[in-house]
């Protein structure tokens, strides 16, 4: 039982970070970023290149991964999403763009990094063992702690900094924020870059444990969508809750249902649909987005 709980916290903290980036972008731009999973994969590959290939210290590699993704995110927002949102008759057209970007990033990853599974050397060795009731490698614990620290740092940034205030105002009401003197174009770009950066951060953290490969992008996006739905689209606390709930469901499912075959995810999907039928806006979302 202790083991399952610990696995839940470990999975949940990573998932929450993935969901945070997606929900931030959605809240700011009303864009469903299909490419979020691919951004996460790029983060993993950048960290792999710096830390695994070139032997740069892990923290620096992680920083490079964040920066790369932030720049990619800012460019995508500035030159693709913003003009398309202005020019299209229906907001949903951005989904075609997002899917196109997901294809493009997939193609770039394939060309630059190839399709092989890549792993990096462990950051710390050893396994934490508490009387064989709870066994966890130290590097997983470290990643989990780092993930939780980043979530706390992100919340602090959103809550107390000027940028955070502007972003929250933008998410609440675009027009009103503009009238209050928020530079909407600039903060949209910053917000998008921040969301992409979170994807890069979690990709860089996870590459140390699970490794990274080309095929991880799509499934990661779907998981992120589910977490965002559980918590409510565009709500930051909702994304964190969604991440931890999905993480715990997966940990429990893998522990208790694996003898029945691969039905954990089927059950998660079905319960999600029933949950949304009762509460369409998720745990803490605004009704109807």
């Amino acid at each position: 039982m202790e083991q399952v709980m610990a696995n839940g916290v470990y999975l949940g903290s990573q998932y929450a970070m993935i969901a945070l980036g997606l929900t931030l972008i959605f809240a700011l731009m009303n864009v469903l970023n299909f490419a979020h999973g691919q951004m996460y994969v790029i983060g993993g590959f950048v960290t792999y290149t710096f830390y695994g290939q070139w032997g740069v210290p892990f923290v620096l590699a992680l920083f490079m991964s964040c920066m790369t993704l932030a720049i990619i995110g800012a460019l995508i927002e500035r030159y693709l999403f913003a003009p398309v949102i202005k020019g299209s008759a229906r907001e949903e057209s951005t989904m075609l763009l997002a899917a196109g970007i997901a294809f493009l990033l997939d193609a770039l990853i394939l060309l630059i990094f190839g399709e092989k599974q890549r792993g990096v050397p462990k950051i710390v060795d050893g396994v934490f063992n508490w009387d064989f009731r709870l066994i966890m490698p130290y590097d997983r614990i470290l990643i989990c702690v780092l993930a939780i620290l980043s979530i706390v740092a992100f919340i602090a940034l959103m809550q107390y900094s000027k940028t955070g205030r502007a972003l929250r105002a933008l998410a609440q009401d675009r027009t009103a924020a503009q009238l209050m003197g928020v530079n909407v174009d600039r903060y949209s770009m910053i917000g998008f870059a921040l969301g992409a950066m979170l994807a890069g951060l979690v990709g860089g953290l996870l590459v140390t444990i699970t490794g990274v490969n080309l095929g991880m992008g799509g499934p990661t996006s779907i998981k992120a969508f589910m977490m965002v739905m559980i918590g409510g689209a565009g709500v930051i606390s909702g994304a964190i809750w969604g991440g931890f709930i999905l993480g715990f469901m997966e940990a429990f499912g893998l522990a208790y249902l694996s003898q029945y075959g691969d039905i954990t995810y089927l059950l998660i999907f079905v319960s999600l649909m029933i949950f949304l039928a009762i509460r369409p806006q998720g745990l803490m979302g605004k009704p109807w987005g």
């Binding site: 075609l96 060309l111 779907i222 691969d262 039928a277 987005g289």
Partner: protein
């Protein structure tokens, strides 16, 4: 409905091309593989028509793959295990998909915008996982060796020959698929220009307002979702019959996303948008095959450029604003 001369000429020209022009072209060039490509385009266009219809009531549907998969399995099971004729299983597959859509639609059609989009995306995943888990679908092995469609005769007069005895079943499948596509789009055009279509348009713009002036929005959105899933089921069933096999991975999330992209690419404001979008996306992908490992890169770049400079779809280039062809 009044059609202008240009519209009638346009439809006649289209019919002449697909029923006479393309077979002559293929016979002349000997590119028999084109039949398979064009048949796929026609079937995917049918499923995309369903997605377009859901867009018409203001919902983003990324779940058409689920209904196509349901249709393919229902038809395959009826033909292989119950021994039905394919031609009866085809509407049965569509109706079953529509029934599933009503059951699922009752709760989830209350969702809007991005919530509906995400849950339908999950729905495709559910369909694949269900197909893996159920015993009747044979799990990952799928259903293989589905017999080709048999003959239909009314009062001893053969209407459709037995596909298995035909020398060239590809051509027969092409004609079947194109006839189905023409019927689908004729029905879609009729529906959009009917009273129901106007009600849908009012819902697309503002559901509360539509509801307040007495439109039964619950009924309409479930009806529309059922029709669109019917299209998905029929397209999927036909696809399974052509490939003579169905697997859980026959339709996956990527196919659902593709159906949606077809609609966007053609233009959401145009009934014939999904047809054009399917043709361009499918052929575009095939033509870029020669670029080898750069295929995906070029394809994605073109897709991004199109949406960047024609955000309202390809058809907006010529027709400007307005609906219909």
């Amino acid at each position: 409905m009044n059609f202008s001369k240009i519209q009638i000429l346009g439809v006649l020209a289209f019919l002449a091309v697909v029923f006479v022009g393309i077979p002559i072209f293929i016979a002349a060039t000997g590119r028999w593989d084109f039949y398979f490509t064009l048949t796929s385009v026609a079937l995917l266009a049918i499923a995309s028509a369903g997605v377009w219809l859901t867009f018409y009531i203001g919902r983003i549907n990324i779940g058409q793959g689920a209904f196509a998969l349901v249709g393919a399995y229902v038809s395959a099971i009826l033909v292989v295990k119950a021994g039905w004729s394919f031609w009866i299983s085809l509407p049965a597959a569509g109706l079953f998909a529509a029934l599933v859509a009503v059951l699922i639609g009752l709760p989830i059609l209350r969702l809007r915008g991005v919530y509906f989009a995400m849950i339908t995306l999950v729905l495709t995943q559910v369909a694949t996982l269900t197909a893996l888990a159920l015993p009747i679908t044979n799990g990952a092995k799928g259903i293989t060796n589905i017999p080709l469609p048999g003959a239909i005769s009314v009062f001893g007069i053969p209407l459709v020959p037995d596909f298995a005895t035909l020398e060239n079943s590809r051509m027969a499948f092409y004609f079947t698929a194109v006839i189905l596509m023409v019927i689908t789009y004729a029905a879609l055009y009729r529906l959009v220009n009917s009273r129901l279509g106007h009600l849908c348009r009012s819902m697309q713009q503002n559901e509360e307002l539509a509801s307040s002036i007495g439109v039964n929005i619950t009924y309409i959105r479930i009806l529309i979702f059922a029709i669109s899933s019917f299209f998905g089921g029929v397209g999927g069933a036909m696809f399974g019959s052509i490939s003579q096999s169905v697997y859980p991975a026959t339709f996956v999330v990527k196919d659902s996303v593709d159906f949606m992209l077809n609609c966007f690419l053609g233009g959401l404001g145009f009934v014939f948008g999904p047809m054009l979008g399917t043709l361009v996306l499918y052929f575009g992908w095939d033509l870029l095959f020669e670029f080898g490992k750069y295929q995906m890169l070029i394809y994605a770049t073109l897709l991004i450029l199109i949406i960047r400079f024609l955000p309202n779809g390809l058809l907006s280039l010529r027709f400007g604003k307005g609906g219909g062809k």
